[in-house]
Amino acid sequence: MTEPDWAPDDIDIDRPSASRIYDVWLGGSHNFEVDREIARQTELAWPDSIRYARANRAFLGRAVRFLAAQGIRQFLDIGSGIPTANNVHEVARRIDPDVRVVYVDIDPVAVAHSRAILRDDDRTAVLQADVRRPHDILDQVRRGALLDLDRPVALLLVALMHFIQDSDEPYESVTRLADSLPSGSYLVLTQGASGASPEADERVRELYRRTPTPLTPRNRAEIERFFTGFELVEPGLVNLPDWRPDPTVEVDDRFSGALIYAGVGRKP
């Protein structure tokens, strides 16, 4: 007997959600006043919020392009959020149209929306699942048979792990997922370490406590631990904008004072 993770009452436009707040910063309108309110309040504490969001999104695009160039054709994107511009499958398909992507999110609204958008795409799938229950994710992935877990897969945990508290054993989850992927697979991960100031960070944490997914920032060493069993590719674990920046691309991702670590690791 599995209980639904989100009770219907939780699916409420009165409760802000991380995926929709993120959508606010990416210029989307898939959000409600409660979400915009948190976004605004967060911007007060972190004036660079929009830049963080964009920089994160830009990194995701660079990482996916890099992986596609390495020959990766399968992506497991956990904490995928609400589809917006430059989704993983769109970016990757510019290199190979045959790319397969499984999107996973815990937020049922993000999932429902993703399904609506991707309804006619048979090379993508959208699962509602919780990264804290990796077995469930793997089961669903295997059942869906869209990804072949015997061949390399890129596991994307982008801007996700800071939503997982230490008591929920984030490292164990990542290890479980990683263990079921073959050598040659990749882990792509970003996670926030600190924002403008300790006070500002605390304020933001407080704001996110209103969502179902409160924040847990981690320091560099703690984030690096997620890559146990992976070899970080150049330039290693760095601040978001510094990961293989694309000089030809114009993006306003220069932010100061904040540290959001990004890294890509390869499973040997």
Binding site: E3, P4, W6, D10, I11, S29, V109, A110, A112
Partner: protein
């Protein structure tokens, strides 16, 4: 979004410039990373359309909408566009279009497109909310339906209890287990349904969960059914997760069968299957418990029991009879040890142990030991016979505060050994100042080997007199062993030792040869007036294949006529199923050897053997004679028995010897009852062979006047 109509060459250079500037402004506010070159290309197209011949409101609005479609949804994008175009956009060849109006068209197109996009995104997210809510509801309904089905049809008992441990909801399986209708369980306290002994444990487990000391608990508890029966439930408790109401869900498995099986198994594991008494494990566990839980001044008392001569019973009557004896003894033991908190069990073989309750005083322990000794003496029906059995008991009450149960057992074992050494059929109390029995035993073992050579063994002769005239007609030979250090050793001890060491055959032969040689001396001196010699023969000796030949050869060697030898056999020795001993006896009897039944009446009730075997004489055990003294509690019965034995013997043409005659009255009584012969302290104590010689030579004389050295066994 591509260039529809590019302007003429002159304007083109201007358009590139415009696009360059425009792109820089827009890129900065772009949500999406974009290549500046790509963006410039796109924007150049838009600028060209606006500057083109067909430019007008329609085109302007198109361009505005295209900006939204390209993702420049930040409203600053309009500002940037106007800033880039206001002063630079060339007026089209038609010249009619006002620049401001054109830019107004772009802004209007942008605004409308943005509104539409915003609206459609909002609609799509609301649709997503509705879809998500619907599927969550479906999932919940499905889950509830599953839960309902699970709850109702589960074989496990399930109930939900509130903070007060009252049952809020219970399923049919639980109702079945408790044998009550579901409705009757409603609002009942779970603790109240459990049996009193288990309430505290159930309460504690529930409490632990309520106060979140634990997230999960499991326990076994007994519950009462309305019919008075008991059901054992294995309970598993957990808090209800998504409920602010602090409920607990309890699942229950009916464990009654397994519980019974387990308790049967543990009974089996802790009890001796033959006697159903507690076994060694349980006894030792009990001792450990007592040792662990006692107060400093509390003693632990135990009795260590061992049946006397149990091996002989097994040897002569078979193991089935031996088992009967053990069962009967066990039953009597259990009756004797009825005090609460005491435990009587079987250690193994013919060894039993009684463990007294904590704080028992020594005199209580001794009373129990006395009771057991006399209870065991009562004849035991086994394999169709009435066997007489006795027990030796070592008693100890431990006054050493920190001694271990094993020390206690050793002490009791030593005392038991003393009881055996003293002849059995008694108890001895352990005294730490007495010799260590184990050491004694090993000295005796080594002593026994050399004793045969060194002449530490000696024979004593107890006259058997004719009651009619007091004439000694025979002498029973008794084996004595005087250890150089330890003095006289009880026959029970050294016979056992000799058996253990494999020396019994040798010892038996030695007794026979020595006795016969002595008797031959009497015979040479006194001729037919010489007393015969009466020698005890063990069951084992009787079973020796060469017995008859060897005996006849010995008689020949020492020069003793066969009729001057009497063999005393106990009933049990006579009664083995084997034919060999009967043949041997037959052969010996034919040569004239006398066969007497020793301790007649104490062992065997089937008298058929008297017809079958060449028996000449019955010897009545001393215990019956003891009862002949007036005032003795068993006088009437014993007199009856003795009279019957005499009548029986005479009826079969056998003679009767009374053993253990100690008083004049007894002697007198036996004479009047027609008993033929007697022996005992009243007539003479066992003495040296010369005494017999003298007595027989003198004939008659004062019966009480024989002065014979008394030989004590200790």
């Amino acid at each position: 979004m591509t260039d529809a109509a590019d302007g003429p060459g002159a304007a083109s250079a201007g358009l590139d410039e415009i696009a360059q500037y425009w792109a820089r402004l827009i890129a900065r506010i772009s949500y999406v990373p974009v290549r500046l070159d790509d963006l410039r290309q796109v924007l150049r197209g838009y600028a060209a359309r606006l500057a083109g011949a067909g430019a007008g409101q329609v085109v302007a609005r198109d361009v505005g909408a295209a900006l939204v479609a390209d993702g420049y949804t930040h409203t600053d994008a309009v500002q940037a566009t106007i800033a880039a175009l206001a002063d630079r956009l060339p007026i089209g060849p038609a010249g009619v279009t006002d620049r401001a109006a054109l830019l107004g068209g772009v802004a209007a197109g942008y605004a409308r497109a943005l509104r539409e996009r915003t609206q459609s995104e909002l609609e799509s997210i609301i649709r997503a909310v509705l879809t998500a809510r619907r599927s969550a509801e479906q999932a919940r309904a499905a889950s509830e339906a599953r839960f309902e089905a699970l709850f109702v049809s589960s074989a496990s008992g399930i109930c939900v209890v509130d903070l007060e441990n009252r049952i809020v909801q219970a399923n049919p399986a639980l109702a079945r287990m408790l044998d009550r209708p579901v409705a009757e369980l409603d609002r009942r306290r779970l603790t109240g349904l459990s049996q009193p002994d288990h309430r505290a444990a159930v309460e504690r487990a529930l409490e632990d969960l309520h106060i979140r000391r634990r997230a999960h608990a499991e326990l076994d508890a007994a519950f009462s059914r309305p019919d008075g029966g008991t059901v054992w439930l294995r309970l598993s408790l957990a808090p209800v997760r998504h409920d602010a109401m602090a409920h607990l869900v309890v699942t229950a498995q009916d464990d009654t069968e397994r519980y019974h099986l387990q308790s049967a198994l543990s009974h089996q594991a802790l009890h001796d299957p033959l006697t159903n008494l507690p076994n060694r494990t349980l006894l030792l566990r009990r001792l450990d418990e007592l040792a662990g839980g006692r107060q400093p001044d509390e003693h632990i008392g135990i009795c260590y029991l061992d049946l006397d001569g149990f091996k002989t019973i097994n040897d002569s009557f078979g193991h089935a009879a031996g088992d009967d004896v053990l069962r009967t003894v066990a039953g009597r033991l259990a009756e004797c040890v009825a005090e609460p908190g005491w435990l009587a069990g079987r250690l193994g073989g013919d060894e039993f142990v009684i463990v007294a309750a904590a704080g028992t005083e020594l005199d209580q322990l001794v009373r129990v030991a006395e009771r057991v000794v006399s209870a065991v003496r009562e004849p035991i029906p086994a394999a169709g016979h009435q066997l007489s059995v006795s027990v030796s008991i070592g008693v100890t009450d431990d006054r050493i505060p920190h001694s271990q149960p094993s020390d206690l057992m050793r002490a009791a074992d030593i005392a038991l050994y003393w009881a055996k050494a003293a002849g059995g059929d008694r108890y001895e109390i352990y005294d730490p100042n007495r010799h260590d029995a184990q050491a004694l035993r090993s000295t005796l073992s080594s002593g026994l080997r050399s004793a045969l050579q060194s002449g530490d063994f000696a024979l004593r002769y107890q006259p058997i007199v004719r009651l009619a005239d007091g004439v000694p007609i025979g002498a029973e030979v008794l084996l004595r062993w005087t250890h150089p250090e330890h003095g006289p050793i009880a026959p029970e001890i050294f016979i056992d030792l000799a058996e253990e060491l494999g020396l019994i055959g040798q010892l038996g032969r030695w007794v026979l040869t020595r006795g016969c040689r002595e008797a031959a001396g009497w015979y040479r001196e006194l001729g037919d007036r010489a007393p015969f010699i009466s020698v005890n023969l063990s069951a084992r000796q009787l079973h020796d294949v060469g017995l008859a030949d060897e005996l006849l050869r010995t008689l020949d060697e020492v020069g003793l006529p066969a009729h001057q030898l009497q063999l005393e056999l106990t009933e049990s020795a006579l009664l083995g199923p084997a034919q060999g001993p009967a043949d041997a006896l037959e052969a010996l009897a034919e040569h004239g050897v006398r066969v007497a039944v020793d301790d007649f009446g104490t062992g065997y009730s089937n008298l058929a053997y008297l017809r079958r075997l060449p028996v000449r004489e019955l010897k009545i055990a001393g215990s019956f004679i003891e009862g002949l003294a007036p005032g003795h509690p068993s006088t009437p019965a014993d007199r009856q028995i003795v009279a019957s034995v005499i009548a029986l013997a005479h009826g079969l043409n056998l003679t009767v010897t009374a053993e253990g005659v100690e008083t004049e009255e007894q002697a007198h009584l036996l004479r009047t009852m027609g008993c033929d012969h007697a022996q005992g302290w009243w007539f003479a104590r066992p003495g040296d062979p010369e005494v017999i010689n003298r007595m027989a030579g003198g004939r008659g004389g004062d019966q009480a006047g024989y002065s014979v050295d008394p030989v004590t066994t200790h």
